[in-house]
Structure formats: C-alpha cells, structure tokens
Symmetry: C2
Subunit: 108 residues, 2 copies
C-alpha cells in the first residue's frame, strides 16, 4: 500500500429507462460490484486489490463493463456468474479471462 497491486473498476453508471445508450446499471452492475467486493474480501485479496465503482466507462452497449488496472484489461458483458473466474484466473493468477475481453471497437 497505498498503491493497489490491482484496481478493478466496475461501471455502475445509470441512465433513465428508455435511453438508447442503455447503461451498466440496467444490466445488473450494482449487484456485480457488491459480489466482486465481497468475493475479493472472502479470498483475502482486499489488501492488494482495490474494487471501485465508476461512472461511464464508454462501452455502454456492451455492459456491464469492468476494467482491471494496471493491466489495462477491459471486460464487457460481465455477470455475477463470471466473478469466480475473474478472481481465480486474473486477480489471483494474473491470467485475463479471454472470453470476456471487450471487442476492438471505438469508445462510445
């Protein structure tokens, strides 16, 4: 400390229902954040992995979006069922979860 070994950013941005951009919050990002925060603590990673909520991370149509820094790894369409794998493979073993990587598209 104080620098985290890894910082996991969970977009929980909300937009009103009907907004054409959608939002990560509508896709379940709040539960995702809660689940990841709890799992990081259960795994004993909370002293070196900081989990933060953010506003828009600019991939709204593919949310919920999660970025892992300083790896600069970006995940899209993340659900609570993906959290165990993200914790085990990426946060514990340093191997990004390939199937969740954001496609190579411009920021929105």
């Amino acid at each position: 400390m104080p620098k985290p070994e890894r910082q996991v950013l969970v977009c929980v941005n909300a937009r009103p229902p009907g907004n054409p951009k959608g939002s990560c919050s509508q896709g379940g990002a709040d539960a995702l954040f809660d689940g990841l925060r709890d799992l990081v603590r259960e795994r004993g990673l909370h002293d070196r992995v900081m989990v933060n909520r953010t506003y828009c991370l600019k991939h709204c149509s593919r949310g919920p979006v999660v970025a892992v820094q300083p790896d600069n790894v970006w995940y899209a369409g993340v659900g609570t069922t993906d959290l165990e794998e993200i914790c085990t493979a990426h946060l514990e073993q340093g191997r990004p979860v390939e199937r969740l990587l954001t496609p190579d598209i411009p920021w929105e």
Copy 2:
C-alpha cells in the same frame, strides 16, 4: 482503441456535509473532472486518454484524488491549477508530477 493509452480516474464521491470522512466532491472534484475532460480534449489527447469519474478511491482525507492508469500513479489534493502540469508532464510526456503523489499511507 478500444483500450485507452491512459485512463485518468477522478474521484467525485460525495458525502453529506459534516461527515467526518469528508469527500472529494466537497473538495472541488466535480470542477476538477470538468476541467480535466475539457483540457484533454483541447490538447487533442481525447482519443488516447480516457477521463472517468469514479466513486470513492479510498483516500478521502487527502482528496481530491486522481489515479492515472496503467501507470498506477496516484495523486492527492489535486486542484484545477494542477491540471495543466498533469496534462503536459504526465499525459503528454509520461513524467508523473512528483509533488502531487499520494503519500505512502493505508487506504481509508
């Protein structure tokens, strides 16, 4: 794209007046975010530097807090008068601004 060359995280977390932890928002973080977003655009950095607002980055007593990833560089007590230097030295030239670095203290 889609990965930013750098991601600048500005904590704009708010707490009610009188809360003993204080908050970055009370310290002027909203104007800081607006100023940085505008400056990054003016300098033509907006295609490679993503500026995001976040909730609590866990250094509340020393806010406003700004983190620059994937450099894992953390700044504390940042004001709008520091933005030109952060843009020129760090975001354009890759040299972190030493005088603004977060001291080596535990997360709050």
